[in-house]
Amino acid sequence: MQIAPPDFDRLFGALSDATRRDIVRRAIDGGEGVAELAGHYSMSFAAVQKHVAILERAGLITKERVGRRKVVRTNLEALRVARRLLDQYEQLWRDRVERMTTLLAESGKETDR
């Protein structure tokens, strides 16, 4: 079962920073360039540029040319991959809780509680 790309740690590392997560959210619409993105934060343009580069290396965002501008756009597929592992783990525990509920219902009947 192929569930993870080789650069998985990079992906999670990129998402471990609050500013970078915010950039990923803003770039879902893909309307802004790096300079415009930098305007949302109190840090320097260079610092934002660095964050964008980390996200780009992790495959979480891409820079696309729109006319004469370059806009930053979130790669939604990469985001989905990051969530998929935890989704599988959630299902494992949901199934366990279902079985627990079944067991409790059985014993409730046996002891007539």
């Binding site: 569930i3 998985f8 969530r83 509920t101």
Partner: protein, 169 residues
């Protein structure tokens, strides 16, 4: 719906799941403390668990193996880090070698279980699972255990429906 909340944090590699049961905290604790009951919910129907050692005191060990559809029997263990019956259990869940020594090649997870009375004869169980690293998460979920689990989802529903019909005629 028994599961009332799930919070997943990819960056912190944790999942918190809350569930509520129509039972007392003591009864829910028994699901963990009685090895025969633990066997009935820990593994999916296609990968049932057999518990061979079970000591839920602090520093104690629980040892179990799962039996897969191909007859494979991976061994695993818990080390109990905290135990306050019937309210709290913290354990490290890891894979074991054939002689039950820890298999350090394979990742383990830390489980933190809280069981609390919420009134009206109901109990809330909170499970917090933490993976040590992203690779651990990836490796654990890529293992055959989950293949069996995924393939079984349809069957599980059917089996649960039968069980419920039997439990509550």
């Amino acid at each position: 719906m028994t599961v009332t909340a799930v919070h997943k944090d990819p960056a912190a590699r944790t999942m918190i799941l809350k569930a509520e049961f129509d039972a007392s905290p003591e009864r829910v604790w028994q699901l963990w403390a009685d090895p025969r009951q633990l066997e009935r919910w820990w593994g999916p129907p296609t990968y049932p668990a057999t518990v061979t050692n079970h000591d839920l005191s602090v520093g104690g060990r629980v040892e179990y193996y799962m039996t897969g559809p191909e007859g494979d029997q991976p061994k695993a263990y818990w080390i109990v880090l905290e135990a306050e019956p019937p309210h709290r259990l913290v354990y490290l869940d890891g894979f074991a070698n054939d002689d039950w020594s820890p298999n350090d090649e394979l990742p383990g997870t830390t489980g933190r279980v809280s069981i609390e009375d919420i009134g009206g004869g109901r109990t809330r169980m909170t499970i917090e699972s933490e993976f040590p690293t992203v690779e651990a998460m990836e490796q654990l979920l890529a293992m055959g255990m989950e293949e069996g689990l995924k393939g079984a989802v349809g069957q599980i529903d059917a089996i649960l429906a039968e069980d419920r019909a039997g439990a509550r005629p």
